[in-house]
């Protein structure tokens, strides 16, 4: 393994010099970032310390996985489509929010003894500790809590989705927003969304949104993409409410089918054709859409939870682009890998992007490495070699106050610091 250039962050530099993966200054501030990287072909998830590049753990699961982190960062879910399994991994990093600061607990990562079996596990959505795991062959969506997963006592509730189809569900405490299967042919894309409860009741009116695919959260707002616009889902009193936001008339013909959500600023980024992305500020209605032209076709994208002004797009020419979401422009571009053509199968090994503190991390499956980019300067900052074909990646971490040796520290009733979370499901 090449150790990364120690410019990923000043904090990381101090950590490496101190020889520690987790560091504490005199004020007991601790920073910890971990990367969870799945292999394209092997049933493994490699856990890497993002601050010093050391591999902490290689976890063996059932099959190649798509990874999703919970908004709390406590759990990483490995959705293994081919193996028909979903595993949960305790990230080992947890925050306890105290308003003006957060406490951090750092522990070993751990493959938990809970797993969710079923044919064709597909869309995974987590919202405020509630998880909806969709299985393409089932007529109900399974919902459970992150807390139960971490306690390894899984209690699954199910909600009716009408008929088995490739759809999506957004979980709430007592309700679920579910996609509506195409009545002509359930194998086609869903035609809208509705609110249901766990007793088989529908709440309110169905909302049309043909060609529905793609889902993301930004703060408390959740969005689903479709041919005619976005469905915006908010908590409204006891139940969620769905509102249709049509694409601006000024946009060219097209639609989004993959969404990610901003952290720190409430916005969404969607694909809009193979070589454009769409920035959406839902608060601005018709005026809230900005189209960004990319030099070549998009491979993957991510938002920056630390520097909310920026999102990153990796394109098939091997470049990473820094996008200013306020102005809708590419601010900087950086070549990182050899070209990765978007021709071929949607699931061929291609780079994925995550942000870990001061570093943007890009997987390079064909070269067996992670590329590190200093997010502040947008310059290459190093590489981490990973065995096999590192593919999917999520980052978990942050900074907080450590209370070493403090027994019984009480967090009852306290909120939890949220961090980056976006749902991405690439097969457009």
């Amino acid at each position: 393994m090449n150790r990364p250039i120690l410019g990923v962050s000043a904090v990381a530099l101090a950590a490496c010099l101190a020889g520690g993966a987790v560091l504490a200054d005199e004020a007991e501030n601790v920073t910890a970032w971990r990367l969870f990287v799945s292999d394209h072909a092997q049933p493994t998830v490699t856990v890497v310390d993002a601050l010093d590049g050391d591999v902490l753990e290689t976890l063996t699961i059932e099959g190649p996985a798509t990874l999703h982190r919970s908004s709390s960062g406590k759990t990483v879910f490995a959705v293994q489509g081919a193996a028909g399994e979903v595993h949960a991994i305790k990230s080992g990093i947890a925050f306890h929010d105290h308003g003006d600061h957060a406490d951090i607990d750092v522990d070993d990562p751990e493959l938990l003894h809970v797993h969710i079996d079923g044919d064709k596990p597909a869309h995974f959505v987590e919202r405020q500790g509630y998880v909806a795991q969709w299985f393409d062959g089932e007529s109900k969506v399974r919902v459970f809590t992150e807390e139960a997963v971490l306690g390894e006592k899984l209690e699954i509730r199910t909600a009716d989705i009408g008929a088995a189809h490739h759809g999506v569900a957004v979980p709430f405490q007592n309700h679920v927003v579910v996609s509506i299967p195409n009545p002509e042919d359930a194998s086609k894309r869903p035609v809208g969304a509705r609110v249901v409860d766990f007793e088989g009741n529908r709440i309110g009116e169905d909302v049309e949104c043909p060609g529905l695919h793609g889902s993301a959260a930004s703060g408390s707002l959740h969005a689903l993409a479709c041919d005619t616009g976005l469905l915006l889902i908010r908590q409204a009193g006891d139940a969620p409410a769905i509102e249709h936001l049509p694409y601006a008339a000024s946009l060219p013909e097209g639609s989004a089918s993959t969404l990610i959500g901003g952290t720190g600023l409430q916005y969404f980024v969607g694909n809009y054709g193979p070589d454009r992305i769409l920035l959406v500020d839902p608060s601005e209605g018709e005026n809230g859409f900005k189209l960004v032209q990319l030099p070549t076709r998009r491979v993957h994208f991510a938002t920056d939870p630390i520097r909310p002004r920026f999102a990153y797009v990796f394109t098939e020419d091997g470049q990473l682009h820094q996008v200013d979401v306020l102005h809708g422009e590419i601010e900087n571009s950086l070549r990182l890998t050899d070209p990765y053509s978007m021709d071929g199968h949607w699931s061929d090994p291609r780079p994925r992007v995550a942000v870990a503190g001061d570093a943007i991390v890009v997987t390079d499956p064909l070269d067996g490495k992670l590329h590190l980019v200093n997010a502040a300067r947008f310059e290459k900052a190093g590489e981490i070699e990973i065995e096999g074909r590192p593919f999917n990646i999520v980052a978990v971490g942050g900074s907080g106050a450590a209370h070493g040796g403090e027994d019984g520290h009480d967090h009852d009733g306290h909120g939890h610091a949220d961090d980056a979370h976006g749902h991405d499901h690439d097969h457009d």
Binding site: D97, H98, G99, D100, H101, Q128, Q173, S218, G219, S220, L221, Q235, G262, G264, L265, Q266, Y267, L279, D281, P282, S283, E284, G288, R307, P308, R309, V325, L326, D412, G413, H414, G415
Partner: protein, 312 residues
């Protein structure tokens, strides 16, 4: 105590230097961003027609949990003056300022106000049935005392004068007129509270945003700490609050415009008290509501409290 230091890390708190200020073209209005509706109303009163005002967190919305949008960052980037409460009230602010790249001066309006420590080290908000704790050493809801509101208004006039010297006389005149209105409002509230029998001046709210009102006008507010309508422990926690309500002989329970009413409804039921109406704590009402301005909000709150507590 007077506020000891600036609590919004990384913000540029303006210094009020009058000399050498850029003159503004008459046609160009001062671009002002106010973080939430109450200080937006103050800004409108002081700035009048000379300012272009954008308020980030609008009526009936909770600034503690506000999620800023790209449009907010763009507004900040274009602003001449940014008005904030400070005291960690606007949790979203430092990230938003950083994202915007604004070079506008940020006026922290609680500077110089009489600030209370929060004896609990923070307070709870109720969103979607959950209790969310906001830890802060000082109570941020300083506008609930009209004396402090006057400090906000003076700070706004100074901030506007610093950014627009030509308009300073207008801002000062507007501020003086408004300060006279606030003095009358303060007296009105005192009279409303005086009409409540002394042994009935105890109320219950879900989110303790009224400590300054209590300090200034002598009505005690009880608020649950950490009770969640969805938590298993809530029955025991509510029972503890019910005991306190009975011991202190609270006379009414109030809902708030920014808070989930389910919790106070539960408390009112279990304490056999009536709901005394809705108070406006951290945000104004919609324009057609009973608290569309700060003065209307304080009048509505004091009359609602007075009517409910005085009733047998």
């Amino acid at each position: 105590m007077k506020k000891p230091f600036s609590l919004v890390a990384g913000l540029i708190v303006i210094t009020f230097i009058i000399f050498g200020l850029p003159a503004r073209a008459q046609a160009q209005k001062l671009s002002v961003v106010a973080t939430f509706s109450i200080i937006g109303d103050f800004a409108a009163k002081v700035g009048g027609d000379r300012i272009e005002l954008k308020t980030l967190v609008g009526p009936d919305s909770d600034a503690h949990v506000y999620e800023p949008r790209p449009a907010d960052a763009i507004a900040l980037a274009r602003a001449d003056v940014v008005l904030v409460n400070g005291l960690m009230f606007e949790g979203f602010l430092s990230r938003l300022i950083e994202a915007s790249g604004t070079s506008a001066p940020v006026a922290e309006l609680t500077e110089g106000a009489e600030i209370l420590r929060d004896p609990e080290g923070g307070h709870y908000h109720y969103q979607g049935g959950r209790a969310v704790f906001h830890e802060a050493p000082y109570d941020a809801h300083a506008w609930q005392s009209v004396a402090n509101a006057k400090v906000y208004v003076r700070n706004i006039a100074r901030a506007f004068c610093a950014a627009d010297a030509e308009g300073c006389a207008i801002y000062d005149a507007n501020a003086r007129t408004y300060l006279d209105e606030l003095a009358a409002l303060d007296e009105e509230i005192r009279q409303a509270v005086a009409a409540i029998p002394a042994d009935r001046r105890v109320a219950v709210v879900a989110h303790n945003a009224f400590r300054y009102f209590e300090h200034e006008y002598g009505v005690t507010f009880l608020a649950p700490q950490g009770v969640s309508t969805e938590s298993e422990a809530s029955a025991a926690d509510v029972a503890s609050l019910i005991r306190e309500i009975r011991e202190k002989r609270a006379a009414a329970v109030f809902a708030e415009n920014i808070a989930d009413a389910r919790l106070v409804e539960q408390i009112a039921r279990e304490a056999a008290l009536s709901l005394g109406g809705t108070l406006y704590s951290d945000a104004l009402s919609q324009p057609d509501g009973p608290a569309a301005t700060y003065a209307a909000m304080m009048r509505h709150n004091s009359s609602t409290i007075g009517a409910a507590l005085a009733a047998d």
